[in-house]
Amino acid sequence: MLAVDTVSTAYGAVQALREVSITVAQGEIVTLVGANGAGKSTLLMTICGDPRARSGRVVFEDRDITALPTHEIMRLGLAQVPEGRRVFPRMSVMENLLMGAQVARHDPAPLLRQVFALFPRLEERQSQRGGTLSGGEQQMLAIGRALMSKPRLLLLDEPSLGLAPLIVRQIFAAIRELNEKEGLTVLLVEQNAYQALRLAHRGYVLVNGRITLAGSGRELLAMPEVRDAYLGGGH
């Protein structure tokens, strides 16, 4: 479904990704783990065309999207929950959700019901401003907003960042449910490697802008180098 083929990206003179290649197949949950600054978020943003890849190709559903502007890429059936959530602070929860369906051609009402069923908290707060929500609620809103475009591929950037363990579990359960029931394909970036690898079918390890390891979630969890580097040896 998605193929990133030897992509390199740079911010000015700083090389952020070096010949990264990953694939995501229909119906999969794939996770990218790696330390802070390894280039995980940059990879998600490069898929969305901002920043643009310096070299290599990004192909989504057999279409080369490397050179497309961001807004055109996002209309093809991808949605991203970006780093830092980026909820519109001075819009109500409802308006934030409607923004997710802004350029879609479908009726937003059934999707809205689906999002509210997944995150009942959002329904309670629908007229509250995005900026006044708690961190966990903002994360739910960011995911809900992404789902409103009815994406086939969801790019999730650190959904667990800064959240209480209970909410993290809720969010991971929601991702699994979407994947199993709706067949949603997910590319998940996480620092919380243990939970991400348990959830994912496959994973990649990114170190300094390079893919160093790849394998199924279980295989990666068992590898000593992964355990030492990202799981703190314990668990």
């Binding site: 961001t70 970006p82 519109f88 001075r90 923004m99 907003r145």
Partner: protein, 304 residues
Amino acid sequence: MAYALQQLINGVSLGMIYGLIAVGYTMVYGIIGMINFAHGDIFMIGAFVALISVVMFVSGGIMEGPAAILLVLLISMCITALYGWTVERVAYRPLRGSFRLAPLISAIGMSIVLQNYVQVAQGARVKPIDAMLPGGVTIVEHQSFVVQFSYMQMLIITVTLAVLAIFTWLVTRTPLGRAMRACEQDRKMAALLGIDTDRTISLTFVIGAALAAVAGTMFLLRYGVIDFYIGFLAGVKAFTAAVLGGIGSLPGAVLGGLLIGLIETFWSAYFSVQYKDVAAFSILAITLIFMPTGLLGRAEVEKV
């Protein structure tokens, strides 16, 4: 009392014009964070397009009365909107992503270009038109002092309120308005939701220019004389209004416009006409000392 009432009427109708221009400043500031210094000259273009239409339709004897005014207004809005779009396209869009001051300098350049273009194309002389809507209603007659609410002032207030009502509906209720607010709050995120942010920014300029055209037309009809230089002072005043109301805030721009109009009018009436601009700018300075973000502006504190 009667005298003050007359000043109130004058001040509100002047303030409405400032408010309409101020909305354009504040909108552009909100969405791309730059002060569009050419906006005052877009107002001037609006007044000139209206002047040319008046000469074509009314002085030619083809039309007259309210229908003619409406037609002149629509022509001015359409053509001025085209100017607004072009200015953004030519002078600002190529500089997006450049350093922060670049579009600002480009805006000052654009302001000079527009002034000189009109000066060359239309001549430097002051251009008068005949009053299109003479007369008015006498509200009070107090010892030989007559309080008059002229038809022209009524028209300015009605048209401005109608235009602002439509504009408010557009921004708060329609998908386009939602996209504009999304670009204002987080442009990168808006793009990630499939919004064509360049197009949204263009439309912001188009709407701002159309509002300035309404102001320009009203200015022409009310005062009857314009020249290529009217955009400068009106622009500075409207910018002051936008800052006073809190730059980035749309209701603030209208409120600021009304206040500047009232301050100027009352100062001229009770103190001295020469110092009216000093009064307006002093009030701005004093307000900013105590409320640095303006009357309705918000401090940039956001939860992370």
